[in-house]
């Protein structure tokens, strides 16, 4: 009986640990051909999104209200943002404002 309880307890702890680890994922958005690929991405609270610039000219990844900004990314450079709060984060490239993207952050 004690062994069974211990087994159930360990399984519960493991599943909780695994669930929290799975939520903190790393996503990649490629900046290519003057587009964010994918342009729309859904992530969970605590996830990181990394943008990598594959274009030959520099870009930025900047939230529309300027709350966050990767700064200038030259070709090959990347930057990541951790999304801690649920909501929709619309962003653009400051240098090329027709380049738009969106991150939907779901609650854990």
């Amino acid at each position: 009986m004690a062994a069974l309880s211990a087994t159930i307890l360990i399984a519960l702890v493991l599943s909780t640990f695994t669930a929290s680890q799975a939520a903190q994922r790393h996503h990649v958005v490629e900046i290519q051909g003057f587009k964010f690929v994918p342009a729309k991405l859904t992530v969970r609270q605590g996830d990181t999104v990394e943008w990598i610039n594959r274009d030959i000219v520099p870009h930025t990844v900047t939230k529309k209200d300027k709350a966050w900004d990767t700064g200038k990314l030259k070709k090959g450079q990347s930057a990541g943002i951790v999304f801690s709060s649920p909501g929709i984060e619309s962003y653009l490239c400051l240098y090329h404002p027709k380049m738009r993207g969106e991150i939907t952050v779901l609650a854990k």
Partner: protein, 182 residues
């Protein structure tokens, strides 16, 4: 031996003569196309510096800074490629024509100020990029022989098409503001 040398010399002169006499963009060789592209980039950088000096509109400044940033990168890559290939760009009728037109336009725009300058600059940027993109996409890229140069021009075209779209939006917004103010 002397006859063969003379024939070779005449052939060289003929080739050079033919290249120098090209009157159509479709007749330009890779090195002349490279020269046109470099000239066109520098012209847009020149217009951008003029905009930074004259305009007080932050959106015009943002656009101008992007033009300087992007065209400089493309020029640097073009020069690096020519250095790698151990060749020099060749001057030609089209580069000269572009430069002459640019001189006139700079003189014209320098006399403008405020919203008049902003609109003229934005409209010119749209028209200039549209014309250059047309030339690059329909004539230059299909005719370029060197694969690396062709690839660079294809990347550059994507950049300049983004510039064209940005300029079109900017010009449209300025025209709307101007007509609302009247």
């Amino acid at each position: 031996m002397l006859k063969r040398t003379l024939i070779a010399a005449l052939a060289a002169v003929t080739l050079t003569h033919t290249a120098a006499q090209a009157e159509s963009p479709a007749e330009l060789n890779d090195l002349e196309i490279a020269h046109v592209a470099y000239t066109a980039d520098n012209i847009d950088i020149r217009y951008a510096h003029l905009a930074l000096a004259i305009s007080k509109d932050p959106k015009i400044h943002d656009f101008a800074n992007t033009m300087i940033r992007d065209h400089t990168v493309v020029n640097e890559l073009a020069l690096a490629l020519l250095k790698k290939l151990k060749v020099q760009p060749q001057d030609n009728f089209l580069s000269r024509q572009l430069s002459e037109n640019a001189d006139k336009l700079v003189a014209e725009m320098s006399m403008l100020s405020g919203k008049d300058f902003d609109l003229r600059y934005a409209e010119n940027e749209h028209g200039y990029h549209k014309a250059v993109n047309d030339l690059v996409g329909k004539t230059f890229i299909p005719n370029i022989e060197n694969a690396e140069m062709k690839a660079l021009f294809q990347q550059a075209l994507a950049i300049f098409e983004a510039h064209e779209a940005h300029a079109e939006t900017m010009a449209g917004s300025l025209m709307q503001r101007q007509s609302m103010a009247q």
